[in-house]
């Protein structure tokens, strides 16, 4: 065609590249995390941050699935709690070494996620959410009812040797040291996901999320990439669950309950799923808020609810979206 079709409007470019300022801030935050335990913070703050970083891992997994495949899972507790249960059950019932138990738990959970993805992928949208919820809830019921195995709602205590990976078990059960472990895990996961989403695989899965049929028509398989995303997201959640079990040494079916899955999704959305790091940010905000509210009033539920409503309405692209546009504005750019 001869003539250029000129767009009438000023081009509205959705930034696909992160502004360098954000990258710098990100690296700084990551580093600050590693010195936190030496700053002499009150024990409560540190143990709060430790649980928050595990929740952050779970939320990152959930958010990644939303971002990359468009699926809102209401069942990620199955992978988080599932890995925790696997770890504890193996520690109680098998003679495997502590190391093997810790490594196998997320691996098995991930394989399960991969296998389940073929069932889940038959649906989409709300049906996907509900199907994932049903599967997770069935696991919850199973652990609840199979008393001989998992001791029902009273939960189960982990039994690991005093030393694993050459470290004292207490290393994993004290907030200051465990914080380093879970913080590193979180950082590695986020960096890994950022790289992944910039790769060809990232673009392809985004394309499939957008229009699965057309992706097939331009010559791509669409089932496996989606299954891989689900498995990966399950892996991330199960890493969080493994760390949780290790840290707490005690698990209950609450870890499998739909309300935990729902919470993870809330956190991911509050944090914003457009960026990989949004859900993690959301987790820290949420956990700290809930703790704060819980300290001062028994009406934490209202407070959390109201803040949730306010955040979601005022910042529709989540906390991370707000941060991004703030950064852009400071840099003199336009609001995107």
């Amino acid at each position: 065609m001869s003539n250029l079709s000129m767009a009438a409007a000023a081009p509205k470019v959705r930034t696909s590249t992160t502004p360098p300022v954000l990258v710098v801030v990100g690296i700084a935050v990551a580093l600050v995390g590693f010195v936190l335990p030496w700053l002499g913070l009150p024990r409560n703050i540190l143990s709060l941050l430790t649980s928050a970083s595990m929740t952050a891992i779970l939320a990152t997994g959930v958010g990644f699935l939303v971002r990359q495949a468009g699926f809102s899972s209401f069942g990620h507790a199955a992978f988080y709690g599932g890995a925790a249960y696997l770890l504890v059950l193996m520690s109680v019932y098998t003679g495997l070494s502590g190391e093997a138990v810790v490594l196998l738990a997320p691996v098995i959970a991930t394989l399960a996620a991969f296998a389940l993805s073929f069932i889940l992928l038959r649906t989409q949208g709300v049906a996907f959410s509900m199907l994932s919820l049903a599967i997770a809830q069935a696991l919850f019921e199973l652990m609840m009812r199979w008393r001989d195995l998992a001791n029902g709602e009273d939960g189960l205590r982990m039994r690991l040797p005093r030393e694993i990976f050459g470290l004292k078990l207490s290393f994993f059960q004290k907030a200051d040291t465990m914080f380093l472990v879970s913080w590193s895990a979180l950082i590695i996961i986020i960096v890994g996901l950022v790289l992944l989403s910039r790769s060809h695989f990232g673009t392809l899965t985004l394309a499939i999320k957008n229009n699965e049929e057309r992706a097939r028509f331009i010559g791509f398989r669409t089932l496996m990439p989606r299954a891989a995303i689900i498995a990966l997201s399950g892996l991330i959640a199960s890493i969080g669950g493994t760390l949780f079990a290790l840290y707490n040494g005690y698990i209950t079916p609450g870890l499998l309950h739909w309300s935990l899955s729902g919470e993870a999704l809330i956190i991911a959305i509050i944090g914003g799923t457009r960026s990989v790091w949004g859900p993690a940010l959301g987790a820290f905000l949420f956990v700290i808020l809930r703790d704060f509210a819980g300290n001062y009033t028994t009406h934490w539920q209202s407070i959390v609810g109201l803040v949730l409503i306010a955040v979601v309405i005022l910042l529709p692209s989540g906390a991370s979206g707000a941060v991004s546009s703030l950064v852009n504005r400071i840099r003199g750019g336009r609001d995107v």
Partner: protein, 237 residues
Amino acid sequence: MSDTYMLEATGLTRRYGGFAALNNVSFKLRQGEIRGLIGSNGAGKSTCMDVLTGRGRNQQGTVCLNGQDISRLSERERRAVGLSRSFQKTNIFPELGIRQQVQLAARKAEFDNTEEVLAELSLTAIADRTASDVSYGDQRRVDLALALVGKPKLLLLDEPAAGLTIEESLAMARHLRNLAERWKLTILLVEHDMEVIFAICDRLTVLHLGEVLTEGLPDEVRANPEVIRAYLGSTFA
């Protein structure tokens, strides 16, 4: 022209309930040919494209590409053997950048002239915008770009000129002609814009009520009274 056919479609049929949207349609395309597929609304043109590309279920008939029977292949596999298409109802990746998605489509075929395709479809200036933010006409050209990149052997285009100005339609026609020669493309073109059809098609197949009404050179078809009555009307007769 050689005597071997690039595409042989025999007995293509699709039913919806009792109603045959496409009924036992057969035709053959030579290498390098641009074939126009025309017919009144609901004649079965889009359905024919669907059946050729394996879209949807309950289809019958055989499709041979360069002698290979591809009737049992999936959409993806058909693309891999060189069959590519555009859609009547715009079918793109709304959240992806225009360049990004065109490059993605090119990747499978190890095709690196995406910039050229973008330029020729006047998409360069808006290539970095998100597809959902450009006008309808622009989106239609993105759809076309997705079909074009990757140098398919056989290109099926479903109303590529719809919504374009006459100028642009004719420019697109020239462009297709050009591509067909340079890339040795074979094209099956569905179009209601007769200027485009008569400008570039080597032969025409006319569908009516799911069946082939007639087939022939453009001038023959144009003069066919049945085609005039059922389809062309006064303007082009």
